[in-house]
Symmetry: C2
Subunit: 451 residues, 2 copies
C-alpha cells in the first residue's frame, strides 16, 4: 500500500584498506539517500548499514524506515556493504582472486560506514547537527549494533533487528531447533514428517527408477543421478525449510521468494500424514510443500536445486565471510530437530574454506573483537527478534541494561519489524515499532542535550 519513494543514488570514495597504508587504492561505495521528509538543521539521519547484498533490495525491503521518516523528520540513507551490489573494491575482478577478497571483512565495512557518515555530515548542508541512528536487519543488524559499539561517536544508537550477534558462541544445535519448532507448531505431524523424509529419500533414491521418480515428482530442472546429487538435493531441501521459517510472515510477501501469508502453515497442510504413510506418498507431500516456496506464482517451469532464494543476496561473498570471521557453528541431531544428524566439524569446515579461498577461519576472533556476551558497557542498542525466526537463537533476547534493550516479537519471523506496516501485522509488531520509535526519540533528545 506504500508508494515506492525515489532515492537519490550516490557514491563516495572509500579506502580499500582502512587498516593498512600500503594498499592506497580507493573504490566507489554506493549509497541511496532520500531527504523528502528531512528537517534540515537538525533532523536525524536514519542510516541503514547494508548487509550481504544489493542495497536497493534492502532499501525496498526496509519499509519501516520509509514509514517513520515523516514522523521523525528524518533523512534516509542506505549504505551498501563493500563487495556486494555495485560497491566492488576491485571492480569486476573483486571476486576473481583471493588476493582481492582480502578486504572483505566486517571491520572494513564498519569503517566504510563511519567514514561515510562523517562525509555526509561534513558535506550535506544542514547535516552537521544531525544525529545518526544505525538500522539494520540480520547481518546488517549485527553491523548496526557493532557500529554503535565500535563507533559510538558516529551513531547515537542502533536498531539491530534479528541480529544474531551471539551465533558465534551459542550451542550449535539452537538454530535448527527453532526451525523445527516453527514446523511443529504450524501443522499436525509437520516436523515429524520432514524428519522422516530423509530416510525415505535415501530408500527411494537407492534405485535408478526411484531417482527418476524423485526427479519427476519434484519437477527438478536437472535429474538426480549420483549419490552426491542426492546429498545436494537433501541439502537444498534443508535450506528450503530454513528459508521458510525465516520468512514466515503473516501476509503475502516477496522477500526471499514470492510467498503466501503464513507460508509454513501452507507448507504443513501437505504434511499431515500419520506414521503409516508410504515413502512415495510422504515424498509427494514434501514435493507439494517445497513448491509452495518455489512456485507460489505458478511460473516455475522446473525447480533448480542450485538456488534457494533471491539473487539479490551475495552468496559467495557471505561464504567468504563465514570462512574468515563469521564462523557460526551449526549442527543437527535429528532428535531436538527434524534434520539428519550432522555434528559441527570445525576442521572439515576450515579445510573446505582453504580449498575454496585459500584462507582459514579464525574460530575465536568474532567473540574477541565484538565482545561475546560481555557487552554491557555499551549503550543505546535495541535488539529485536521474532520468536519464529531461527536467527533468534543467536540473538540478544533479554535486555542487558536500561539502554541495551531486547524486544521479542510474538509471531514474528526474520526482522518483520523492518518491513512496511501491513493491515495483517500482529499487534506485537505494531507495538514493537512504536517502542522502537520511542527509543529513537529518546536517543535523539539525549544527544541534543549533551551536545
Amino acid at each position: 500500500q506504500h508508494k515506492w519513494l525515489p532515492t537519490a543514488p550516490g557514491a563516495c570514495s572509500r579506502c580499500i584498506d582502512h587498516f593498512g597504508f600500503l594498499e592506497n587504492g580507493t573504490f566507489k561505495q554506493r549509497y541511496l539517500l532520500n531527504d523528502q521528509h528531512w528537517h534540515k538543521e537538525g533532523g536525524p539521519i536514519l542510516f541503514y548499514t547494508g548487509n550481504e547484498g544489493d542495497i536497493s533490495w534492502f532499501c525496498n525491503n526496509t519499509g519501516f524506515m520509509w514509514d517513520v521518516a515523516e514522523e521523525l523528520g528524518a533523512m534516509l540513507v542506505f549504505a551498501e556493504h563493500r563487495y556486494y551490489g555495485e560497491s566492488m573494491p576491485f571492480g569486476k575482478e573483486s571476486y576473481s582472486n583471493t588476493k582481492y577478497l582480502n578486504y572483505l571483512t566486517s571491520e572494513q565495512a564498519l569503517a566504510d560506514f563511519a567514514v561515510l557518515i562523517k562525509a555526509l555530515k561534513t558535506t550535506l548542508p544542514g547535516a552537521q547537527k544531525s544525529s545518526v541512528i544505525a538500522i539494520g536487519g540480520s547481518y546488517g543488524g549485527m553491523l548496526a549494533a557493532w557500529l554503535r559499539m565500535k563507533y559510538p561517536s558516529a551513531v547515537v544508537g542502533a536498531l539491530a533487528a534479528s541480529a544474531p550477534i551471539w551465533q558465534f558462541i551459542v550451542p550449535c544445535g539452537e538454530f535448527y531447533k527453532v526451525v523445527t519448532h516453527d514446523f511443529t507448531i504450524s501443522g499436525t505431524n509437520c516436523s515429524s514428517n520432514i524428519r522422516r523424509s530423509w530416510a525415505a529419500i535415501d530408500r527411494v533414491s537407492a534405485s535408478g527408477e526411484g531417482l527418476q521418480w524423485l526427479s519427476q515428482e519434484f519437477g527438478l530442472c536437472s535429474s538426480l543421478k549420483t549419490p552426491d546429487e542426492v546429498y545436494g538435493f537433501k541439502a537444498w531441501l534443508q535450506e528450503t525449510w530454513v528459508n521458510l521459517a525465516m520468512v514466515d510472515y503473516p501476509y503475502e510477501a516477496n522477500f526471499l521468494q514470492p510467498l503466501p501469508a503464513w507460508p509454513v502453515k501452507v507448507v504443513c497442510k501437505n504434511l499431515h500424514f500419520d506414521t503409516g504413510v508410504s515413502d512415495k506418498q510422504l515424498l509427494n507431500g514434501i514435493s507439494h510443500a517445497v513448491k509452495v516456496y518455489y512456485n507460489y506464482t505458478g511460473d516455475a517451469v522446473c525447480l533448480n536445486t542450485s538456488q534457494t532464494a533471491t539473487g539479490n543476496l551475495g552468496l559467495l561473498g557471505w561464504y567468504y565471510q563465514s570462512c574468515t570471521e563469521m564462523v557460526m557453528p551449526m549442527c543437527t541431531d535429528g532428535i531436538i530437530d527434524m534434520f539428519e544428524p550432522q555434528p559441527w566439524n570445525f576442521q572439515a569446515f576450515s579445510d573446505e574454506c582453504y580449498n575454496q579461498f585459500g584462507v582459514r577461519p579464525r574460530e575465536d576472533w568474532a567473540e574477541i573483537v565484538y565482545g561475546g556476551r560481555n557487552i554491557s558497557a555499551h549503550s543505546n542498542i535495541i535488539f529485536s527478534n521474532g520468536n519464529l525466526d531461527p536467527w533468534m537463537s543467536g540473538g540478544v533476547t533479554t535486555s542487558l541494561s536500561e539502554s541495551l534493550v531486547a524486544i521479542m516479537i510474538d509471531g514474528g519471523a526474520h526482522h518483520l519489524d523492518l518491513r512496511y506496516s501491513n493491515e495483517f501485522d500482529p499487534e506485537s509488531v505494531i507495538k514493537t515499532r512504536a517502542l522502537e520509535v520511542r527509543y529513537f526519540k529518546q536517543w535523539l533528545n539525549q544527544a541534543a542535550t549533551t551536545q
Copy 2:
C-alpha cells in the same frame, strides 16, 4: 628505594594481520608477567598496554604498578607493542621493507592486547574470573583508553596517563605553547633567551669561524659545516627543550636521560641574561643549558645531535606510525612560543612520508576511528595529565562524565603518576595515585557485582 621485582618473561603467538586472512602468519609477542602479589581466583590483572619501545624499559619506568600490586592483590602484565623491542612480526626483516611495515598500526596493536588478555584468562589457572585494568602512559595511555573504548569486554577500565588522544584535532600551536610556558615559569628570561637564541645561531653560523666556535662551544661530536647541518642542530635543540619539559620531574631521575631534580629550573639558571647579552654569551648559556640534559653524569665525551633520548624508544617505528595514522599537527609562531615560526604543512609532511616509506598519512582517520571529542558514550577511563607536560595540550583535562574522569597533576610532567612513589613527590601526585586506586577498586567492585 624500590627493589627491582623480577618478572617472568613470556611470549604468545599472535596473528600478523588481525583484519585480513590472506596473510596467515603469526609472530611471538613478548610480555612480562609478575604474580608475586596476585590473589588467585579473582585478583585483578593490571595490564600495561605497551607503547613504542622496549617493554622492559616501560616495565622499569612504571613503578606505580609495582607499588599498588600488593594492595590490590594484582597480577602485573606488561605487553609489548608489535614492531618494538623483541616483538617483531617479520623478525629482523620487519623494518627492511615497507611491505613488512604494513601491519604496524594501533588497531593491530589493540587487537594483539585483546587476544593476549583472552589467552591469559583462558590459560592461567585462576585468571578466568580476574578483571583486567588497562594502564599506559603517553602513546601507551592512548592505547589503554582505546582498549577500553574498542574492547570493553576485555578490560573493566583504563588509566590513560598523559595520553594525548586529542592531539590529532587540537590547534597545532598548543603543544609548543606548553613547552614554552614551562621555561617561562622556571627562571627569569628563560624562554625569551631561548626564543632569541635561534637568530643568534643564524648570525654566528654565517661565518666559518662562527660555525667552528659553535661546534666547539657545544662540544659536538661532529662539527657543523653546512646550512643543513645548522638547521639540524636547531631542530636538535628544539627537541631537547621539548624533552626537558616532558621529564621535568621533582627529583633526580633517568627516563629519557639521567637528570637532576627539576631539570628545567637547572637549565634556566644558565639563561638569566638581559636583552643586552651578546650572541656568543647567549649561546654559551644555551650550551651550558643543554649539557644539563646531555651530560648530567659528566660522562659524555661529546654531544651527538642525532639522538635526543634513550635508545629504548623505537623512533623509526613511531615515525612510520605518525606517517600513517598518528598525524599530530604541530606548529610554532615564535610569539606564543619560544621557537622559530614553522606553520603546519600537511602536504609537505605527506610527501616526506611518501619518500621515506612509500605511504601517505590519512589526516582524518584517527579522529574517525577513535571518536575525536565525542567519546562520552564510553566509561571507566581515567585521563591523568601533568600541567608541566607538553602532551597535556592534546589530553582530556576536564571530566566528561562520572566515569570519564580527568585528573590534573599540579607540578607534574609526563606521566609522573606512573613512576615509583618518591619522597619528593608533590602532594598532587600522591593524591592522584590514591584517587586512581580508588577508581580501580570501584571498577572491580562494579565488575564483581555484574558478573
